[in-house]
Symmetry: C2
Subunit: 352 residues, 2 copies
DNA sequence: GGCGTTTTGAGGTACGCAACTCATTTTGAG
DNA sequence: CTCAAAATGAGTTGCGTACCTCAAAACGCC
């Protein structure tokens, strides 16, 4: 006996614009005007039509709409120049989407710019006005950049900030993680993994000037102060995200403090830190936590030098940015739960 | 100076079937026949046309194809009856997709069945032959079920296993996590979080007969044996995923062993375990790790009773299953990186 | 060479919407 | 009431594909 119960999740009837027009007692042209808020419709007619659209939960057939549009949508990703591996992963995942994109007649371009110079970035953005239907921007939070983003938004371009937010701007969406929470997570993990021991904790970042680094440090210190106050946090080192410099700084730190039991690397340069650790022969005694999953951090996790990598999924960010831009361009709702980027805790056994 | 470099990720020309036909020197009808492997085309003509399609990286316009199809695609999710919160979350996220679904004229139905009785499940599946374009099935790995799945596949239905796999069948895809790795992750976390202490570790599951539970236990024991052999793993308890029973079992366990330092709940019933822990007043001294994120486990994480929740994202699974079924039905490639379900390690500070 | 079969061509229709034109009706101000 | 402006109706076209029919051509076989 196959005692099944069945339930449908979608409206049974597939209404069309024609049905809406008939029910509202207006012509197709008027429904079209209302749907795209074009001028030339009396306010109360607008209301009446909208009410009928809402009541019937009418959804324009996306395929039909897309086909009728004719021209393709153009999106662009404004990314930092240079060799940041995380950014390169995002670009790589965009590349993997190319079949998906072209089957939907979407064009995505990469624009590399000096993202860390606010005036250069702002100038770059200004030149893009009107060029694209949507932009995903790895942005610096700076007044000039904010103004450029707002200009783009005013010109009708959909703007999504990527990885690093500009909350004061009127960007439509942010695709990235909460870096304060990421720092808190790092702090909690360091505190938990060192166990009952007490001792010193080293912390190294690229630069305090980078918003994401600053936020992670803030979150980290917050947790350490409130929950692991018996641990002694050493002054912050700045490794500029470079392996060599990080290695030197950490080597010196390890030499000076034989009682270090934990290490947190806020930014890049993990390879350098790991090298300093292993050369000091202390990789097993010291809890080491860093960010991002690369071939390097993966290897370090597997061999046990690195205990935890806190990461955000670059593929997810790339795809989420595209999907959000597309939804914005189509005026459709965003599946917010889908587009939210999680803070991944990666250890040896749950490596993807 | 906005020194930009720009790169496009999509083919410049948007070819159509007509272009392919012209280049191949055949008619539209022939290209159509080749594209849908319909009979009546000489093998070498097929090859020639396919070669031109491949060379030009031609992608049929999905919107046009969808529109021309006419009839909607029908998918169904075969889910367990009962009140498993994880399954209910999957159903809830499917509900949240309804606007997305209806805008694409996709119909998704829920079919509730006694998934844990192989013959009932197999019989249910057999009745669905030909009814749907695609099925997502929470399946038990049993010969009868395997046969039913294979029959469906042979009849042209796209089949995706959900949460629990039937690897011996010819299902097109599995959407879910690697439960052995999940168990290993739990083991590594218990081992790491108890620190230098040694003592006993309790473990409770719903039933060893459930494949996912068995796999998690296997992974857990594997890690404990190889890396934390100083810890004493107590015999497995079976709480049948019920809160009351789990509470009783854990209460008794705690009474008998004052030196328990870690607890791993493999299945549901976390609320019961937590209650036993707090009533014994030992929630702070014992490392407690469980699965899945619910309102309950979220609360327990925030108040510190639960240290880590290992989870798979039900929303992601619901959406991935739909996307995979859709891609299969359209004969388009699957973005495997996107559809892969990760093992999430959730702690207080990285709760989504 | 004749026959039947297979292969191919040519063309049409429909899908639902965007975007447009142009004619007609309604409205409100004077 | 008059007239211009605003609102609306009615209609067309095209997007790229699926799916269909029917005729024509090519083919293989004896």
């Amino acid at each position: 006996m196959a005692q099944e119960t069945s339930e449908s999740l979608t409206a049974s009837a597939a209404l069309t614009l024609k049905d809406i027009a008939r029910e509202a007692g207006v012509s197709l042209a008027t429904v079209d005007r209302v749907l795209h808020n074009r001028p030339g419709v009396r306010p109360d007619t607008v209301r009446r039509v909208q009410e009928i659209i809402a009541r019937n939960a009418f959804q324009p057939h996306v395929a039909a709409a897309e086909l009728a549009r004719g021209r393709a949508r153009r999106f662009a990703f404004v990314m930092p120049t240079g060799s940041n591996p995380f950014m390169q992963q995002i670009e790589a995942y965009l590349g993997e989407m190319s079949a998906w994109l072209s089957a939907r007649r979407l064009s995505v371009e990469l624009i590399n710019t000096d993202v860390f110079d606010p005036s250069v970035l702002a100038a770059s953005l200004e030149t893009l006005t009107g060029e694209y239907d949507g932009l995903a921007v790895v942005a610096l939070d700076h007044p000039a950049v904010r103004a450029a983003i707002n200009d783009l938004v005013d010109a009708g371009t959909k703007v999504v900030t990527l990885v690093s937010d500009v909350p004061s701007s009127r960007r439509h969406h942010y695709v990235g993680i909460d870096n304060i929470a990421a720092g808190r997570t790092a702090g909690a993990l360091v505190g938990r993994l060192v166990g009952q021991k007490s001792g010193k904790i080293g912390i190294i970042a690229g630069s305090q000037g980078l918003r994401d680094h600053a936020e992670r440090i803030f979150g980290f210190n917050q947790v350490m102060a409130s929950e692991f106050s018996h641990l002694d946090i050493l002054p912050l080192l700045e490794g500029r995200d470079e392996d060599d410099r990080s290695e030197q700084l950490i080597s010196r730190l390890l030499g000076k403090h034989p009682d270090i039991i934990g290490l947190y690397n806020v930014g890049a340069g993990t390879q350098g830190v790991a090298k300093a650790l292993t050369e000091a022969g202390r990789e097993k005694q010291i809890v080491f936590i860093a960010h991002d999953l690369t071939t390097m951090t993966r290897r370090l996790l597997l061999q046990g030098t690195l205990d935890v990598a806190i990461s955000q999924n670059p593929g997810h960010e790339a795809r989420a940015a595209v999907r959000v831009l597309l939804s914005l361009a189509r005026n459709e709702p965003i599946l917010s739960e889908q587009e939210k980027i999680r803070i991944d805790i990666l250890m040896r056994d749950n490596l993807p």
